[in-house]
């Protein structure tokens, strides 16, 4: 069961309309290292975890990723708010507008649709946790790229928040990996 909380995890502000930046950020909505990939990855992997602790970490981080997914959509919504077809054409985003209007479709910045091929559920807890740690680093790097692409300090503030969360998630997954390795070694020898 999931509940919806009618609020963002962290306030999203934007300083100005910026259609190009909205398109760059779209990759964190439906791209390979985006928040949708993260949520679906962790929430799918939890069923084959052997310990309560690992199930808990994947449930809690997977749920937080959904909150980040909503923050990303909010950035795109605000960056494109009030844009006219003429402005969209001048920002060279006519092809996006022709297909999706101003709908926020889960794709990467180039319009490639989201696919579960971006994630894996190996059923092997050690392999899955390694994937998760790598995914957090890839997401961190993506946020750094996005921060470099804008001089909007309000937008940067929310992007920096999300970048920090990836660092924390990486840390928690690392601790979970240690715990799982200990658990599995213990099982083997005792």
């Amino acid at each position: 069961m999931w509940l919806y909380e009618k609020k963002l995890e962290y306030p999203v502000r934007v300083g100005k309309k910026d259609l190009k930046m909205a398109k760059y950020i779209l990759t964190q909505f439906g791209g390979p290292n985006g928040e949708l990939s993260a949520a679906i990855r962790y929430l799918s992997q939890r069923y084959s975890m052997p310990t309560g602790r690992a199930k808990g970490v994947l449930t809690d981080i997977g749920t937080e990723e959904l909150a980040h997914w909503e923050m990303i959509a909010t950035m795109i919504y605000k960056l494109t708010k009030g844009a006219t077809p003429e402005e969209i054409r001048r920002a060279d985003l006519g092809s996006t507008y022709a297909i999706w209007d101003k709908g926020i479709f889960p794709s990467d910045s180039n319009g490639v649709p989201w696919t579960s091929a971006y994630i894996n559920t190996m059923g092997d807890p050690i392999a899955d946790l390694h994937e998760d740690m790598a995914a957090e680093q890839k997401a961190r790097a993506t946020y750094e790229n996005l921060i470099n692409l804008t001089d909007d300090v309000d937008l940067q503030d929310a992007l920096k928040f999300l970048r920090e969360r990836e660092v924390v998630h990486f840390q928690r997954f690392g601790e979970t990996l240690d715990h799982l390795q200990g658990y599995m070694n213990g099982k083997k020898y005792f």
């Binding site: 009618k6 962290y10 979970t176």
Partner: protein
């Protein structure tokens, strides 16, 4: 949303953020008593601030988790989270 609503929302976000952090930390450090006691302290405060926010703005959580509500049904009131200007 009015100024008081925004101020309370900010407090809700701050407290919940601290609780998210502590929750994830406790997942991997379940025996840390100091963290658990901070979690409990903040969780009590969180319930109070949520109540104040919901009184001012409307329910935060769907499916009855925000407790009994008065008329009218405020859940569907705008702004939705992505529409809020901070």
């Amino acid at each position: 949303m009015d100024q008081l609503g925004l101020k309370l929302l900010r407090e809700v976000q701050e407290l919940e953020f601290a609780l998210i952090e502590l929750n994830l930390y406790l997942d991997t450090h379940p025996d840390d008593e100091a963290a658990l006691s901070t979690f409990n302290k903040l969780s009590t405060r969180y319930a109070e601030v949520r109540r104040a926010y919901e009184e001012q703005v409307g329910p935060l959580v769907n499916y009855g988790h925000s407790g009994p509500v008065r008329e009218p049904w405020r859940w569907i009131e705008e702004p939705w989270p992505w529409e809020i200007e901070y």
